[in-house]
């Protein structure tokens, strides 16, 4: 099991995947928007999306869990 965390504070602009999706390492999971910049957060390891902790429009802080991949 792998936790995907936000590497910066910002708004969740887009959630690219759905729960249950199979992803590979490097695939974008969500796109954060902060200070007029969009930053994709990618999976560090492949697996299936067990749980998505955020919705589009949510605000996340650095270190917050975005998704659980297993």
């Amino acid at each position: 099991m792998n936790q995907l965390v936000a590497n910066m504070a910002g708004n969740v602009w887009k959630v690219v995947v759905s729960e249950g999706d199979q992803v590979n390492s490097g695939d974008d999971i969500v796109i954060l928007e902060s200070m007029k910049m969009e930053i994709p957060i990618a999976a560090e390891a492949g697996g299936s999306i067990k749980e998505l902790k955020v919705n589009e429009g949510d605000f996340v802080n650095e270190g917050d869990v975005i998704a659980i991949i297993e």
Binding site: N7, M8, A9, G10, N11, S34, M35, K36, M37, E38, I39, F59
Partner: protein, 448 residues
């Protein structure tokens, strides 16, 4: 003169405008979002009004709300600053209809320059050199590829309504262009409400040089010389200086003449800036016109002694420009460093709380600062938190003073780009004026 001015902006530029208004005894009205309740500009204005939730679309870009506050407070004029509503024709038209003065050009001029494609045509017709490129909008990636293959890679893909580096990208191959076309068109649509794209030839080894203009409602147009803003990251300026170290005196004059011709072509009024790309053979090409005050205006103020905000207010009030071209000369050299709340290597934003702030002091130093100690930098707005402006007798003197000033600049609690700024000003390439727009890539990132 106006008795009251509403400042439809935030951060350092709101403070900057308030400062001049106070000196001229003009009542200042600030607006702010829920995220900015504790911002210095809110406390410095004579009065301040909450206009909505943090996001710009709910507050600073809420035209109805800003106009409502202006009417309630009987503001005689609105200064839009830069960004936000400053180049919004709908906003400027609507406040005119309300009988409030927009401190800036008329909606026609904003519209003419708001579309880069229209601006290219207008400038071409006025005899101002433009970058070779497509005359009209490109409909899709296939058409873009056809054109790119005709002029040869690399090409610059641009959104006609883009700005602030958003919607533009240099591309090197068909494959890259296919991807870049879709993503940039989408971003431009999202940020600017218009995804029209076009292509320009890439000008190799280009420097970014711009001419500051002032024009009144009586047909007078003057220039306040040039600024060079080549040191950029993600197509956003990081260090600016005046005058440009690249231009010969002959080019300086030719560019100023071209800029004045451009302004006259659209009957331009108020402060404006014509941006050019200049190659190392002194050929220059029109890039775009910014129909507002620029972030980097302080370096021009330092070398000319002119308060540009005061001039904007005078011109908007209908006064004849009190400065004549022959009154102006370049006095010394001024450099501005933009302090961004971001990682100095990845350029990722770094919002958070500033726990401590120490600024260098000196007669040669000017600070335009949006923040203070124990202040939260939120993720809702631009990462620029301050500008450090240092002026010397010569360019080398200004560089030395900038090095010292940056050494004495301390922002604790968040990451800033100060380490990057230091790397730039100590580099031999910067000292020698080899400031191409690829400077950070060529001289800084390459060593990391």
């Amino acid at each position: 003169m106006f008795k009251s001015v509403l400042i439809a902006n935030r951060g350092e530029i709101a403070r900057r405008i308030i400062k001049t208004c106070k000196r001229l005894n003009i009542r200042t009205i600030a607006v702010y979002s829920e995220a900015d309740q504790d911002s210095p500009h809110v406390h410095e204005a004579d009065e301040a009004h909450l206009i909505g939730p943090p996001r710009v679309s709910d507050s600073y870009l809420n035209v109805d709300k800003v106009i409502e506050v202006a009417k309630e407070t009987k503001a005689e004029a609105i200064h839009p600053g830069y960004g936000l509503l400053s180049e919004n024709t709908d906003f400027s038209k609507r406040i005119q209809d309300e009988g409030i003065t927009f401190i800036g050009p008329d909606p026609y001029a904003i519209e003419q320059m708001g579309s880069k494609l229209t601006a290219r045509k207008t400038m071409d017709q006025a005899g101002v050199p433009i970058i070779p490129g497509t005359q009209d909008a490109i409909a899709n990636a296939e058409e873009a590829i056809d054109y790119a293959n005709k002029i040869g890679y690399p090409v610059m893909l641009k959104a006609s309504h883009g700005g602030g580096g958003i919607g533009m990208q240099i591309v090197n191959s068909d494959e890259e262009l296919t991807k870049a076309f879709e993503s940039n068109a989408r971003r431009a649509e999202q940020f600017f409400g218009n995804g029209t794209m076009f292509i320009e030839k890439v000008i190799e080894h280009a420097h970014h040089v711009e001419i500051q203009l002032l024009a009144d409602h009586h047909g007078n147009v003057i220039h306040l010389f040039d600024r060079e803003c080549s040191v950029q990251r993600r197509h956003q300026k990081v260090i600016e200086e005046a005058p440009s170290p690249l231009l010969t005196e002959e080019t300086r004059e030719r560019m100023a003449d071209a800029a004045i011709k451009a302004a006259k072509a659209i009957d331009y009024k108020n402060a404006g800036t014509i941006e050019f790309l200049v190659d190392e053979d002194q050929n220059f090409y029109f890039l775009e016109m910014n129909t507002r005050l620029q972030v980097e205006h302080p370096v021009t103020e330092k070398i000319t002694g002119v308060d540009l905000v005061e001039q904007q207010l005078n011109v908007a009030y209908g006064k004849v420009l009190s400065i004549k071209q022959e009154d102006l000369m370049i006095n010394g050299h001024s450099i501005e460093a933009r302090i961004y709340a971001e990682d100095p290597k990845t350029f990722f934003p770094s919002p958070g709380t500033i726990t401590d702030l120490k600024l260098p002091e000196g007669d040669h130093i000017r600070h335009d600062v949006a923040v203070k100690a124990n202040y939260q930098v939120t993720p809702y707005y631009d990462p620029m938190i301050a500008k450090l402006i240092v002026t010397g007798d010569t360019r080398l003197d200004a560089i030395e003073k900038m090095k010292d000033a940056l050494d004495g600049y301390h922002v604790e609690g968040i990451k800033t780009n100060i380490p990057l700024l230091k790397d730039v000003v100590v580099s031999e390439a910067f000292k020698e004026g080899h400031t191409r727009t690829s400077f950070i890539q060529d001289h800084i990132l390459i060593n990391q």
